[in-house]
Symmetry: C2
Subunit: 205 residues, 2 copies
């Protein structure tokens, strides 16, 4: 079974890379779909689910609690921990369904029992800023400084959530099988090589 998790710095193009990789390898792709699915199952607003998962877990609960939390859904989805538990359940359901690429969601940790291939995607700050500004809708463009601040804030939340459920530091090479720096790289062009690399890792050829 091929489970490929993509962890990424905000603005590094990790999501694009994940999507292209799933197309190249013919695998299911899960990203925003996970949030939508949870929102739908529980008749919640997608933005609420997304926000609660990305920010509030780390703000609301002491580390020892999150670490020992058993992930039953009994707590309900009216709070961040309940939502996180629900996401964990859903991730495992998706993994059981078969081969896939999952972007974010701490899937590298949550799905570790499936022995996934863990990819980390990163880039120089200047490249990430340029990418974010280029892709933002005209009306939502931030200054370079504001963009850098946003990137740091989002990645710091990712790091915090990761640290709550794992002994590995988010972004530390040792938690990944491959770390790819996308600075000045055309993601479209490297994806076929990455796909081959992963297939070799899985013992093909």
């Amino acid at each position: 079974m091929k489970i490929i998790t993509i962890s990424r710095e905000f603005g590094s193009g990790g999501r694009e890379l994940g999507k292209r990789l799933s197309d190249e390898m013919g695998l299911a792709y899960y990203d925003r779909e996970i949030v939508s699915s949870i929102a739908e199952r529980h008749s919640l607003d997608e933005n609420y689910v997304s926000g609660a998962l990305e920010r509030s877990v780390s703000q609301s609960y002491p580390i020892h609690f999150a670490r020992t939390f058993s992930y039953t859904a009994s707590i309900g989805v009216n709070n961040s921990v309940g939502l996180f538990a629900e996401q964990t359940k859903l991730l495992k359901e998706l993994a059981e369904k078969g081969d896939c690429v999952i972007v974010g969601r701490a899937a590298d940790v949550i799905l570790s029992e499936y022995n996934p291939f863990n990819l980390f995607v990163y880039a120089d700050m200047s490249a990430k800023i340029a990418r974010c500004i280029e892709r933002a809708p005209e009306c939502e463009r931030l200054s370079e400084r504001e963009t850098a601040k946003m990137i740091r804030r989002i990645d710091s939340e990712r790091k915090k959530i990761h640290g709550m459920i794992s002994d590995r530091t988010w972004g530390d090479r040792r938690g990944y099988h491959l770390c790819v720096n996308t600075t000045n790289v055309d993601i479209k062009k490297i994806v076929p090589e990455l796909a081959r690399y992963i297939n070799i890792w899985y013992g093909e050829k």
Copy 2:
């Protein structure tokens, strides 16, 4: 010009990877050759040169001195700093000669002006121990515990030397273009993909 630097954890197979990569890409390969060349030029013992370069720089000189040191060879090669300066000079001469793969020697930092492709090779401790024990001559075999200790000591020296000449931490993904985890990986099989990846990075295809 293609300058590929390989930084690696001891026992991760970085040297094998570097050698195979140079064969695959048809590039010159420098590793132990650098030490031999310095030893030869100055009629010094190879083991003396090697030991002085790998250990003593970090033990003998305060950080601010190494950082501002101008790398003239005027100091002579009778001490570690002189040898380090000599190595720096030689690395630049080699880079000037043309495309190559250089293993270790902090070449990623020393040759940064050449915009090299910097690869970091690492592995889980258990994989590194197994590799070291497997490859040691029968008469020089250490226990697993001794091997782990040796690996940690050598990598800690590499980290120290790197820290003296760079603001980047040795092994921190951000200093590299690609970080490859060789745990359970057949190096021979991944090298062709890595070669293609690097060629794409250099804008080929």
